[in-house]
């Protein structure tokens, strides 16, 4: 008797979970090409925004994007998601990898199973995917950071080309590859274009992507260097923290120029309060859309070779560069390349409300 009740309940549970599954299934059946779009983790503003961009683009251009990731960023979880994508017969996977090499095996398995492999935001090894959609080379992004600072300083009535401008860098930590590469490229650009600038702390300030620490460090920078002209925060946690620190100390964009990279929504209030004049980021919605389009492009029988120019509807013509544009020691092959996002955006009070991410 008891056993029967148990079995009946379990069957009910299974059937209900299947019904739950069936609800999600409807949308997948309508299109031919399915691209599985894999974030590092779900529930993070950056990745959710990229997914919004990808979904809207896919709907407009007639293919299906399945956003699939785990709420916890881990290699094993991503391997499971990609493995499931292969097994469920997806046509392409578009992945932001949590690990530089940990997904190589599974991405190679995907390719040998005929699933097209694309990365975006964060790469795997060059031989484990066909193309990577990168936010920009270190040179482009380093120069952009310095130019934003120079523009803000000029607005305050100083002359960035002649005055002895004092500045520092404030970002996450010394071990992060991308942010450090931008700083190195930015420093080189400063040496060349603004030899009159002085970095008051060449060993940089680090706040380890900790929102509270970013404010504490931010206040320390401003109190230790009352005459500082500019702070470059090339980290999306450091920038709001630094702006909050300036606001706490009663400083605004006429006292010190703060700039860096962060999603617009996290900075709008500081910009409205005149704490900072401008900051930037790449449009991650376009990045998501472009990644998924390239997955779709490959899955519909097209080849991508280094040197190709691809006309992406609504986004523009993108060129496939060799992997060495990101890292001089990268793997090079004819069928493995990098596509750069066509543009990055500088946000000010006049355009920030056009972006919602």
């Amino acid at each position: 008797m008891m056993k029967k009740i148990i079995i009946a309940l379990m069957v009910l549970l299974l059937v209900s979970s299947v019904a739950f599954a069936g609800g999600a299934k409807e949308s997948a059946a309508s299109d031919d090409v399915t691209v599985v779009f894999v974030p590092k983790l779900t529930g993070n503003a950056f990745f959710e925004a990229a997914n919004d961009g990808a979904q809207a683009y896919a709907e407009k251009h007639g293919f299906t994007v399945k956003y699939d990731g785990s709420p916890e960023a881990s290699v094993a979880n991503q391997v499971t998601v990609i493995d499931n994508a292969i097994n469920s017969g997806a046509d392409a996977v578009v992945v932001s990898s949590v690990d530089a090499t940990g997904l190589d095996q599974i991405m190679k398995e995907a390719m040998s199973a005929g699933v097209k492999a694309v990365t975006w935001d964060s790469d795997v090894s060059g031989d484990a995917r066909t193309v990577m959609v990168s936010q920009g080379t270190p040179d482009i992004l380093g120069k952009m950071l310095v130019d934003m600072l120079a523009d803000s300083i000029a607005e305050r009535g100083k002359n960035p080309a002649k005055d002895a401008i004092k500045y520092v860098w404030h970002y996450s930590q010394a071990t992060v590859a991308d942010q450090n590469s931008w700083r190195v490229a930015g420093e080189a650009y400063i040496k060349e274009k603004y030899p009159n600038w002085v970095n008051v702390n060449p060993s940089n300030y680090y706040s380890e992507q900790d929102a509270e620490k970013a404010i504490t460090i931010g206040e320390a920078i401003l109190m230790a260097n009352p005459d500082i002209d500019g702070i470059i925060c090339n980290d999306s946690t450091a920038l709001p923290g630094q702006a909050q620190a300036a606001q706490n100390l009663g400083l605004d964009k006429n006292d010190v120029s703060i700039t860096g990279f962060a999603p617009p929504n996290s900075m709008k209030n500081y910009a409205r309060a005149d704490v900072l004049a401008r900051w930037g980021l790449w449009d991650c919605q376009i990045q998501g859309a472009l990644g998924c389009y390239l997955g779709y492009y490959l899955a519909t029988g097209n080849d991508i070779r280094v040197g190709d120019k691809i006309d992406v509807p609504d986004i523009g013509v993108v060129e496939v560069f060799p992997n060495t544009v990101l890292d001089a020691n990268a793997y090079t092959a004819d069928d493995s390349g990098v596509v750069l996002l066509p543009e990055r955006v500088v946000f000010t009070t006049s355009n920030m409300d056009n972006y919602n991410f």
């Binding site: 148990i6 785990s70 979880n77 499931n84 090499t101 940990g102």
Partner: protein, 342 residues
Amino acid sequence: MLNSKSITKRVFRWETFLILLLLIEVLVFGLINPRFLMPRVLLGSINNFMTISVVALFVTLVLVTGGIDIQSGAIVGLTSITIGVLWNDVGMNLYLALVIGLLVGTACGALSGFFVAYTEVQPMVVTLGGSFLYSGIALLITNFSATEAYKGISGFPEEFSQFVRGRIFGIIPHQLLIFLFLVIITYILLHRTKYGRYVFLCGVNKHAATYCGIRTKQIVMSTYVLSGLGAAIAGILLTAYLGTAKTDLGKEITLPVITAVVLGGTSNLGGTGGVIGTALAAFVIGILRFGLSLANVNTQYLDIPVGILLVLAVAIRFSGSNPTVQKFIGKLRRSKDLRKNN
């Protein structure tokens, strides 16, 4: 041990029920998506929940004594990075590094087990501290490596990764065979030896066991040593499977491991349970997640059915032995009999 027979009977029934559940899953998911039934696909999915299954086998012993182990995820990562650094940066022979990795995991288990057994501190607190300690040490070890912490150490020899990734006849994953081997070992240890009976006794009534002359402290400590060893084995398998050694491997397995053990019929109060149930439950959960994912359910929602399954199954299981419920069932039966007689 008057009711020992009824306990074994109930456990046996629970395991039959898990097998039944597994069959229903295969049937239902096979109907939804026929790809699910391809042997290569179905058996291949096992690779993705092997870490949890292996660790859960050994953690079963800890729960049988009435303890709990929430540090195994940290030991998986520590083992992985130890092997990576020894092989890549120290230049040690890989197989020697694997042995040292196993020793490190076992030692971690022994340290926590010592504190659980010889002090009156709650096992939950000790292993929580252990999880912070061991994952902290794992991060510390990366400082000896030329590879930056966020990258992971890769480039292991092909034979190492092939030993774990490989498939017999291109279908049966090696990991499944390794797992079956471990099931047999732990089954014999827990259910067919004197040691195993002592482990159960520690969970049923530690004081009674002590008065019977059993060295309960050593027995309790030994279960943590074994669960440390199990986590180290899982760390090696995961490192080989992913082809990368990283400090944070395994960080997400802690609660899934406990889920598999409890769903498998082992009481977190100690005294009852078994490794066969754990193994089956790990498969029930793994196949449920895989099947739903092939049925196009987004990965981030897969915790929902697993949560429902756990709460319902355990509630039903324990209500079966709840006197009020038994009385109620008895009453139902009696009234039915009455009606029949009328």
